[in-house]
């Protein structure tokens, strides 16, 4: 009998603790944003062939020359990449240097894509088996990374860049030393 009563008061205490925890968590601002695990990581070693005639390919060494850049992961077959194209142009017009990796693409398709949607890129590497894409923690197209002058990832934007994202990305690029 005594044990039952003690157990029950224990249960009351336990529920009070839980309610306290609930109340505390309710009062906390909810931040659902999960930081990319790649932030602060250096770019892996790679050397990609040019994805399209007339533009150089992309290698790790190109990213560690002291100048921060944007790295755009895209593909000619990706619909959101088309929507993103004008905002990449805006970024370039604001002084950002943008290099790109084309995922599982054919040179003629990339050329056609750039013909229609414009070419804000200085270098385009071809990643035919998503090797580099996976190594930098990108799970889809499009994604955009901010890389500082030492070739270290400082920011990852998942999904297409929309007009409202442009100032934030420019800010991140500035923080990376531009």
């Amino acid at each position: 009998m005594k044990r039952l009563r003690m157990f029950l008061w224990g249960l009351v205490g336990l529920s009070l603790f839980l309610f306290g925890l609930f109340a505390y968590q309710l009062s906390q601002p909810k931040d659902e944003f999960v930081e990319s695990a790649m932030i602060g990581e250096p770019m892996p070693e790679f050397d990609l062939r040019p994805a399209v005639e007339g533009y150089p390919g992309l290698a790790t060494a190109d990213l560690a020359d002291g100048k921060p850049r944007l790295l755009n992961v895209f593909a000619s077959w990706c619909v959101p990449c088309r929507a993103e194209a004008p905002h990449l142009e805006t970024l370039r017009d604001n002084g950002a240097e943008i290099v790109a990796i084309a995922i599982r693409d054919r040179p003629e398709d990339v050329a056609a894509f750039l013909q229609v949607y414009g070419n804000p890129f200085t270098r385009i590497g071809a990643d035919d088996i998503s090797e580099v894409q996976l190594a930098i923690g990108s799970s889809g197209v499009p994604e955009t990374f901010v890389i500082d002058g030492n070739g270290v990832i400082t920011y990852q934007h998942i999904g297409d860049i929309r007009a409202e994202h442009v100032p934030l990305i420019l800010e991140k690029l500035r923080e990376a030393g531009a």
């Binding site: 009351v12 009070l16 309610f19 925890l21 609930f22 505390y24 309710l26 077959w77």
Partner: protein, 655 residues
């Protein structure tokens, strides 16, 4: 006017709940008979008003009255009628109104028919029910008014999430809600019995149909939800240990234990404290579940409209109801005397094992669900998933299943091992042989291996109570037990064999290519666009062969709804008695090939067949109990009539 009428009805219903609360509790005091007579009528009229209010909401949705905020946010004039109506409860406010309505209807029903308990206990029960209900009325009226008007009516509604435009989902949430509300009735009975110190077998008999009914609905609701996630979300799994799934599983676990406990109390006047505690915990878990789902403090795939203010409201109700009930229980612990004694080797003993194991699993699920919340307070983000829940839950699940296989063979109060030696040895041998054979032949993992062996043992154990009994004379409630236990075996078998033997292929194919998976081969014949009432889709035509013979076509779709624009995957399921082939169509790859996902899932459907059997068992037990109650009531009335006649006769003879 309809919306205002509904709102007024709701306010009046809330006022009557207030009256019921006072009548119930003041009526308990000396000389309170005057006010006590109001309790039952208050509950009845409240039920009518609430029902009316809910009908008004249905009407608003049927007419798509866009001047009402809830309708504008959740409906659309182009939706089929059935989804317009289900839209009434497919949102926060409407579902809370449904909750309150069902609760009021249940209260009205007990006020109208329940006469077996002492009147004081009934008053306390109705008072407790009104207390719980008032909290929800306040929540509705102050924090989630379903009848709120918009200043300017929009031209068109916002639609309903197309994932929810599904017949299964139209009925999955209300089924669970009815289950939760049934548990709230059990909770009120427990509080009433505690307050008036009447934790008796009669109390257990009165409470039992509510627990049974709630448990059946929770079982069906969970099974339906699991099947919906399986075919609609396109992931091919049937349980994800997602916080919202856990939120529905925890009340079910408590209700399952309560169901067994309440039967012991009714039959043997034992396990009083267990019954009372489980009665409190079952409803507490329903409320904790509601809180976790609605407050948004846990991240879940079920993205409900989340609002911390509403969360605080439910938390306050939670603390009042649960804290209050537990405190009452603790102060009354001495009046809930232990009840009849029994030996460990007895039916009661088996059921205690069942209670302990279910409570432990409940604790494990609760801990796993809340653990991320606890660590987040220290800024550590974790997520708890199958690697924790499966093995840790199995530690208690497997012994419980052994008890399930043997327990029903035991006699009440005291039994001897000698009497049940033969079936127990037979079961043990079956189990060991099954484990060795499966291990040698298949080499599957330890959990599915034990699962398959236990499924066999439980299946045999569940039908053993039929041995040597006349099947025609067997009471419905025993049939219910046998079928429900068999259902557990069937479900377990489905889970274990799907886990152990499923085969998956994720491929990119051109039209004309053939893909092999398990005993199946599928040829992609064509990919073509199709159109529905409010969507367009790309549909694949797959011709399927099972072990070389042509059996069927499968047409998985990638569907795009245009208002609001949303993409869903409509998987195609090809069902055989021994499993399902699950096919889903993905995107077109850059080179023109189509992504296809093929998944052969042996015996996966048995999970839900088992769920249906468990539910059917519950329904039979409920029918058996209720018809028994009615028969007893008729018999009592006849005896009373005859006594009255005899007394009259005696009086006449005397004069």
């Amino acid at each position: 006017m309809i919306a205002e009428f509904g709102l007024v009805a709701l306010w009046f219903a809330a006022a009557l709940a207030g009256l019921q609360l006072f009548a119930g509790f003041l009526g308990l005091r000396e000389g309170g008979e005057g006010i006590a007579v109001l309790a039952r009528p208050a509950a009845l009229v409240q039920a009518l008003l609430c029902g009316l209010s809910f009908l008004m909401l249905l009407w608003l949705f049927a007419r798509t009255d866009l001047s009402v905020a809830l309708v504008a946010n959740n409906s659309h004039s182009a939706k089929p009628m059935i989804f317009k109506l289900s839209g009434a409860w497919g949102n926060h406010e409407g579902s809370m109104l449904l909750w309150v309505t069902v609760m009021a209807l249940a209260g009205g029903l007990i006020a109208f028919i329940e006469r077996r308990l002492p009147e004081r206990t009934m008053l306390a029960t109705l008072g407790a029910q009104a207390f719980v209900a008032l909290g929800f009325y306040a929540f509705l009226l102050f924090a989630s008014n379903p009848f709120e008007r918009l200043a300017v009516a929009p031209a068109e509604g916002n639609g309903l999430n197309p994932l929810l435009q599904d017949i299964g989902l139209a009925f999955h949430p209300p089924t669970l809600y009815f289950g939760y509300v049934g548990l709230s009735v059990a909770f009120s009975f427990v509080v009433g019995a505690l307050l008036t110190r009447q934790v008796t077998p009669e109390f257990a008999r009165v409470m039992r149909p509510w627990v049974l009914g709630a448990w059946v609905l929770l079982t069906l609701g969970i099974a339906a939800g699991s099947y919906w996630a399986y075919y609609e979300l396109g992931w091919g799994g049937w349980w994800f240990w997602d916080p919202v799934e856990n939120a529905s599983l925890m009340p079910w676990l408590a209700a399952t234990a309560l169901l067994h406990s309440v039967s012991v109390l009714a039959a043997r006047d034992a396990l009083r404290a267990w019954t009372v505690m489980l009665g409190v915990i079952a409803f507490s878990m329903s409320m904790v579940g509601t809180f976790l789902v609605r407050s948004g403090i846990l991240t879940s795939v079920h993205a409900f409209a989340v609002d911390p203010e509403r969360g605080s409201f439910i938390l306050a109700l939670l603390a009042l109801n649960i804290g209050g009930a537990l405190a009452i229980f603790a102060t009354r612990a001495s009046t809930v005397a232990e009840g009849e004694r029994f030996s460990i080797l007895s039916r009661e003993g088996g059921l205690v094992i069942n209670n302990v194991a279910l409570s432990a699993i409940l604790g494990i699920v609760l801990l796993g669900t809340l653990y991320p919340l606890l660590t987040e307070a220290f800024d550590v983000r974790v997520s708890v998933g199958p690697p924790y829940f499966n093995p840790v839950g199995a530690i208690f699940l497997f012994p419980m299943l052994l008890a399930l296989a043997i327990g029903p063979l035991l006699r009440w109060r005291q039994d001897s091992f000698a009497r049940i030696r033969r079936p127990v040895i037979a079961l043990a041998v079956t189990g060991v042989v099954a484990v060795i054979a499966l291990w040698a032949i298949t080499g599957i993992g330890i959990l599915p291996l034990l699962g398959l062996a236990l499924a066999l043992m439980v299946a045999i154990g569940s039908v053993l109570p039929l041995r040597g009994r006349s099947l025609r004379r067997l009471p419905l409630s025993v049939w219910g037990m046998v079928i429900a236990h068999l259902g557990v075996a069937v479900t377990l078998f489905g889970m274990a064999s799907d886990t152990a033997f499923q085969k998956e292929r994720l491929v990119a194919v051109n039209v004309g290519d053939v893909v092999e998976v398990g005993p199946w081969s599928a040829q992609l014949e064509a990919v073509s666009p199709v159109a529905g009432p409010n969507w367009t889709a790309i549909e694949a035509r797959l011709s399927l062969r099972y072990e070389g013979t042509e059996v069927a076509m499968a047409n998985p779709q990638a569907r795009s709804f245009w208002s609001p624009p949303t993409e869903t995957s409509e998987v195609a399921l090809t069902t055989r008695w021994n499993g399902q082939l699950y096919t889903a169509l993905g995107n077109q790859a850059e080179d023109g090939r189509w992504q296809l996902r093929l998944w052969w899932k042996p015996f996966v459907t048995w999970i839900w067949y088992g769920g249906l059997l468990i539910g059917l068992g519950g329904v039979l037990a409920l029918l058996g109990r209720v018809s028994g109650d009615i028969r007893r009531r008729v018999a009592d009335r006849k005896i009373a009539d005859r006594r009255a006649d005899e007394a009259e006769l005696a009086a006449e003879t005397a004069s």
